[in-house]
Symmetry: C2
Subunit: 126 residues, 2 copies
């Protein structure tokens, strides 16, 4: 399959495999220094901020399953489900632009509600 | 582009075009009677329940823009942004399975938080 895969999908899947394998250093090697990510809570700019955004999630990750992955030479979409200690099923979609082998833009979509609920439970407020 | 498109992507885009054009009757013509949709608030089963789920959103829709759309013969992903009176930008991803020209399964991903906040504002609770 790999040989038929567009360049953007190859990078998106390599990135996905790295972070879901908890190898954030390797994951970040696929992310451009000036990456822009539009996430549910707002825009994240730059690799350092992006890593900060991902790190706590990677730390609590129990597992991830790819639901769908498609792409061409420049853009790719990976849809997956995640399991964390906090949230048994937290599906997400990442729609990325890849330039020169690095993710330069990501539209990151997931529902924040179950994660908020888990935080509220953890803090004893509900 | 259409001729090179997999069957599932053709149906997913026809469905998308119909509901974002507020033609829910036409949209539902691409949805199987026994459709199953895993949405943020839980599983929706059957075309009638699915239509009930979509109708209020379609009613308040101001516009939608496709961010990415990919697929093959059996599965497709459409990532898009929506604008509604309540929420200026509400991006979503739908990862669908298509059988015999109808969507039989949909994994629907979007962030419920901005919609909840809009409801709270509307009800005057914040």
């Amino acid at each position: 399959m790999t040989e038929q895969m567009g360049a953007a999908l190859r990078i998106a899947l390599a990135y996905h495999e790295a972070w879901t394998g908890k190898d954030l250093d390797r994951a970040m090697s696929y992310v451009a220094g000036d990456v822009v990510c539009d996430a549910p809570a707002g825009r994240i700019e730059g690799a350092a901020a992006y890593r900060e955004f991902m790190a706590p999630f990677v730390q609590m990750l129990l597992g991830a399953t790819v639901i769908a992955a498609f792409g061409d030479e420049r853009t790719a979409v990976v849809v997956y489900d995640t399991a964390t200690v906090a949230v048994a099923s937290g599906p997400a979609a990442e729609s990325v632009t890849v330039e020169d082998g690095k993710i330069t833009y990501s539209r990151f979509i997931f529902d924040r509600v179950p994660f908020q609920q888990a935080r509220e439970r953890a803090s004893g407020s509900v």
